[in-house]
Symmetry: C2
Subunit: 342 residues, 2 copies
C-alpha cells in the first residue's frame, strides 16, 4: 500500500492507475490545465472520456490543487503529454524529494541542437542531478491495460532502488513488470516506434489503393520488410545515443513497435498516407488525434542533421528520412527498399 500521485490525466496515465488501484494503493490523479473536463468526468462518474471507460474511483484533482494531491505521496507519476513535460516538472518540483521515486509514462524526445534528450533526462535536468526518473515503457496499449488485459511493461531507471520501488507498486497478476537500467535505449525506442509504426502501415493503404480489399492478405511482405528495417535503424539510433542493443530486441523495442502496428493511431495515420493522401489531408482526416510520429520525425530530423554535420552519424537511415519526407514534406510514398540494411 502506497500513496501514488499521477500528474496528468492522459489515457496512459489514467490506464496505469487501474493496476495501481487493484494493488490497493491510494491513487490520486492531478489533471493539467488542459485536463479540466477529464477531471470533472472522473469526479462525476469515473468515466475517462478519451479511454471511453469507467475507471476505479481514484481521487481526481484539478491542476491548482496539486498540493493536496501530493500530501503523503510516496511515488510521483507523470502522465502528461510530451508537450506538458516542462509544466509537469515545475508542478512536481516543490514536492520532489530523493525518497519519492518518480515514474514517467510520458514518452518523447527533445533535441538541444547537438544531442537527443530523452524525457526522463529532461525532467532530471529540471529537478536536479540527484533525481533518477524511471521510464515506464513496453508494448502496452492504454485501453488494454485499463481493461486488465495481460501486459508486460518495462521500468527503466539508472537507480536500482527507484526502479525496484516502481516495479513493486505496479506489479499485479495481469501487469508483468521487467526492470532495465537502459533509460536511454528504452526511451528512444518508445519514441521512435511511433514514427516507424506509421511507415509499417503504408503497406495497408497501398494495398487498398491498388484495389485490394481492406483487411485481405496482400502486402504483409512490404509491411514486415519495413518492420525489420525499422528495428535495424532503431538499433543504430539507440547505439548513437548510448543505449544498448538488447533493448531494441526486447519489450521496449520490437515488442512496442509490434503493438503500435497492431493497435495504434500511428497505423491508422500511416494507412492514410499509403492510400495516397498528402500529409496535410491525412492529418486533417485524423480529426485532432495526437500524432506523436510528427513530433518525433521533426526532432529526429533536427538531431540527424546535427549529427551528420558533426560527423557523429555517417551511416544512412533511409527509412527514417523517407518517413520524414512523406509526413513532414508531403512527398508521395516510395519506399527506398534498395537502400535498406546498409
Amino acid at each position: 500500500m502506497a500513496v501514488i500521485t499521477m500528474v496528468g490525466a492522459s489515457m496512459m496515465g489514467c490506464a496505469v492507475c487501474v493496476p495501481l488501484c487493484d494493488r490497493g494503493h491510494d491513487v490520486r490523479v492531478v489533471g493539467t490545465p488542459f485536463d479540466r473536463k477529464t477531471v470533472e468526468s472522473l469526479r462525476a462518474t469515473g468515466l475517462h472520456p478519451a479511454l471511453k471507460l469507467e475507471l476505479p474511483r481514484f481521487a481526481a484533482f484539478f491542476h491548482d490543487d496539486v498540493g493536496a494531491a501530493m500530501e503523503g505521496c510516496e511515488v510521483i507519476a507523470l502522465g502528461v503529454g510530451s508537450a506538458g513535460i516542462e509544466w509537469a516538472t515545475d508542478a512536481i518540483a516543490p514536492f520532489a524529494t530523493s525518497s519519492r521515486p518518480i515514474v514517467m509514462v510520458t514518452k518523447g524526445l527533445r533535441c538541444d541542437g547537438t544531442d537527443l534528450l530523452v524525457l526522463p533526462d529532461v525532467v532530471r535536468t529540471g529537478l536536479g542531478e540527484r533525481f533518477h526518473p524511471v521510464a515506464l515503457c513496453g508494448p502496452c496499449i492504454a485501453g488494454e491495460i485499463a481493461r486488465r488485459a495481460e501486459s508486460c511493461v518495462v521500468v527503466a531507471g539508472r537507480d536500482p532502488s527507484s526502479r525496484a520501488a516502481v516495479a513493486a507498486v505496479l506489479r499485479t497478476p495481469y501487469c508483468h513488470v521487467f526492470e532495465s537500467d537502459d533509460v536511454v535505449g528504452v526511451s528512444v525506442c518508445a519514441a521512435l516506434k511511433n514514427a516507424y509504426a506509421m511507415g509499417c502501415a503504408f503497406g495497408i493503404g497501398l494495398h487498398e489503393k491498388n484495389g485490394g480489399r481492406a483487411g485481405s492478405v496482400a502486402m504483409h511482405n512490404y509491411e514486415s520488410a519495413v518492420f525489420a528495417q525499422a528495428a535495424f535503424e532503431m538499433q543504430r539510433i539507440v547505439r548513437l545515443c548510448g543505449g544498448r542493443d538488447d533493448t531494441v530486441l526486447g519489450l521496449a523495442g520490437v515488442g512496442d513497435l509490434d503493438v503500435t502496428n497492431n493497435g495504434g493511431r500511428m497505423g491508422r495515420f500511416g494507412r492514410l498516407l499509403g492510400l495516397g493522401l498528402p500529409a496535410t489531408e491525412a492529418i486533417a482526416a485524423m480529426e485532432g488525434a495526437t500524432l506523436e510520429c510528427l513530433e518525433i520525425l521533426r526532432v529526429m530530423r533536427d538531431a540527424t542533421t546535427a549529427w551528420r554535420g558533426s560527423g557523429r552519424l555517417s551511416e544512412p537511415l533511409p527509412l527514417l528520412d523517407h518517413l520524414a519526407e512523406v509526413a513532414l514534406d508531403d512527398a508521395p510514398v516510395a519506399m527506398p527498399f534498395d537502400a535498406f540494411f546498409r
Copy 2:
C-alpha cells in the same frame, strides 16, 4: 538470362518462379512424386492448385523426368517440403556441380541427437563439402511474391559467389534481395518463426474466448509481449548454433516473424489453441494444412533436451517450452510471462 531448375512444386517453390520468369530466365519446375496433380495442373492451365493462382507458363516436369529438366541448368533450386529434403538431395546429386549454385526455399531443422542442423547443411552433407547451398529466407508470403507484391528477401550462403549468383537471378523491381553469410542464423530463424508465430496468435484466440469480438483490439499487449520474448529466445538459440545477433534483428528474424504472424497458417493454428481447443482438435480443424510449427517444436525439444543434458544450454527458454507443451502435449495455454526475459 539463365536456366533455372526448381525441384519441388511447393507453393513457395513455384511462387519464387514468378520473379525468375519476369527476369526472363528459362525456368523449369520438377515435381516430387507427391506433386503429380500440381504438375498436371501447371501443364494444363498454369494454375497452381495450392496458391490458387495462374502462374507464368514455365516448363513443368514429372519427378521421373528430372534429367530433361536439368539439361543446361545453371542454377538448381530446391522447393520441396522439409520432409522431402533427402529425396531432393538424391534427385539433384547426379546434376550438382560446383559451377551450379544451389538455392533452397525449403526451410527446417534436424537434430542429430547432439546438434541442430539447418537444411542447407543437411544438403551439403548429402552432396559433399565443396557445395555451399544458399538459403532463401525473409518475410515472404508465397501468395504475395507470386502476385508480384513488393518483397524483401535474404539469400544466405557461405560462398560469396554462389549467393551473389542467386541474388542476381532473383532480383526484380518488386523482389529486393539482400545477401548474408550467416546461413545458420538465417535458417534457424526461418524455422523457429513458425513455432513462435503460433504462440503470438494465442492472444487472438484468448481474446475471442473471453468474449471479445474477432478482430477487435483487446489482447495486442499479450501478443506483442510474446513477440518480444520470441525474438529474445530466437537470439539465444541462434547464438548457441553459431549464428549472429544481427540476423535476428533483421529480415530473416523479426521481419519473418512479423509476416508469419500477420499472414500465415501458424497464426490461424495458434488462434485455435488460444480459443482452448486441445492440440489434437486444433490440428484436425486445420484440415490437413502443413503445420511446420509441430515439426519444429519436436526437433527443438530433442535439441534442447540434449543441450541441457550436456550443459551446453543453461539459460531458460520458457516460451518455447510452453509452446511445446501446448502443441505437442495438449496442455492448456497459460503463458509464463513472469519467467520471460531472464
